[in-house]
Symmetry: C2
Subunit: 215 residues, 2 copies
DNA sequence: TCGTTTCCTGACCGTATGGTCAATACGAAG
DNA sequence: CTTCGTATTGACCATACGGTCAGGAAACGA
């Protein structure tokens, strides 16, 4: 890869770079618009404006609105699944679930739009990612459930239903993204500060870890 | 009120009854459609079909789509606030929060559509109920927070941040409505049975009550 | 029975939106 | 410079949707 390629990548770079660059531009704008307006309320024109591209250009990269939406949802799902690693290499619930809560709270903060798109998709009956739910998510869930069950058997935590513990973890952490607007309104209209995010994370962690008898 | 009025109310009753009856028919259909398709994805035609009325008839009772939507959201908000009573007349966290969890889980089960509409509304930045958030909800929240704080001061529970405890309560209970489809998918595609709802409620209650040191 | 109010509804309209396309510009390779 | 595949874009189209309206049907009181 010659020097020139790296330098010119930023603006009007190589072919491949242009594609990647524009797709990212569009996906970022789409994520935001889908989150704020929903699939039905979002318009290709608005996404185009937000990405700084003509509408026809969007259809060049993403043939249909649904294609674009699908990509956005898939992106989120992957980020979401990556937080699993926190769970895996942990000796017990304090480290494992603690790290998982932290990872998911971090995602809620860094990808609030994505979280909302995901929530809306599920609320509408998962029209485009039903297969993911039935395959990947189901496997993931069963894997973690057995980890939790092992911890219970080893006496490292109280005997709570692993399934409902997982739901509780998802619900509480994602709430800070999905209901971020409500939280902000109840915070005198101000977004949470770094400190407040830390307090939120600690509160959630503390209640849950004590709740499962792991402290 | 003469006998005839009571009898004929069911079909083609009195004037006033017709209005009430049709408004309810429309509101129920609207709640469902808005929940499943979002505001933008919902169509007046679909709501009309689901209510078994011609589209023009909807506009007779509700001038615009937004008027109809607003009514749906307000309905939910009221149901949602009513669960507050569980909180009020309680001696301590075990009774108060326990009853609140039960009430909210019950709402999640009985009004899943309403819960989804509410969630979507908040996710989109609360375009039509922002004033409710800033007035009613804020007052409600502060009231309950001071109740929780009193319990803490009286040594009836551990010193957790009341605000984040409330968020955790909302998040976990509403999750069973908003993410009901995901839960159903992870439950072998079957809706939760009576027994499973009871188990879910108990799991949530147990984790939270132990988590706040009230058990 | 008659008059008045409420309710009902098919037909219609303007607009916004997703998507298409043909013409053009552009970058790279030879 | 020429060629060729990729990227760009304004103009355009068909459709679906929210909303209107006029004419008529019920329902009710007198």
């Amino acid at each position: 890869m010659p020097e020139t390629a790296r330098i010119s990548r930023i603006r009007s770079g190589r072919r491949t770079d242009i594609r990647q660059q524009n797709e990212r531009l569009i996906l970022d704008a789409a994520e935001r618009v889908f989150a704020e307006a929903g699939f039905g309320g979002a318009t290709m024109q608005l996404i185009a404006d937000m990405a700084g591209l003509p509408k026809a250009n969007l259809h060049y990269y993403f043939p249909t609105k649904e294609d674009l939406y699908r990509r956005v949802v898939q992106n989120i799902f992957e980020i979401w699944l990556d937080a699993a690693s926190s769970f895996d290499d942990a000796a017990g619930p304090v480290e494992g679930i603690g790290a998982y809560v932290e990872a998911k709270m971090d995602i809620s903060r860094r990808h609030p739009h994505g979280s909302k798109v995901w929530a809306a998709e599920v609320m509408h009956g998962a029209p485009v990612i039903q297969d993911y739910l039935e395959t990947t998510l189901r496997q993931w869930t069963e894997g973690r459930m057995s980890v939790i069950q092992r911890w219970i058997d080893e006496g490292k935590m109280a005997p709570v239903d692993p399934r409902h513990l997982l739901y509780l973890l998802w619900a509480t952490t994602q709430h800070y993204a999905d209901f971020g607007h409500q939280i902000e309104t109840l915070n005198a209209g101000q977004p949470l500060t770094d400190r407040q995010w830390r307090e939120a994370t600690e509160s959630v962690k503390q209640i849950i870890l004590r709740g499962i008898g792991a402290l």
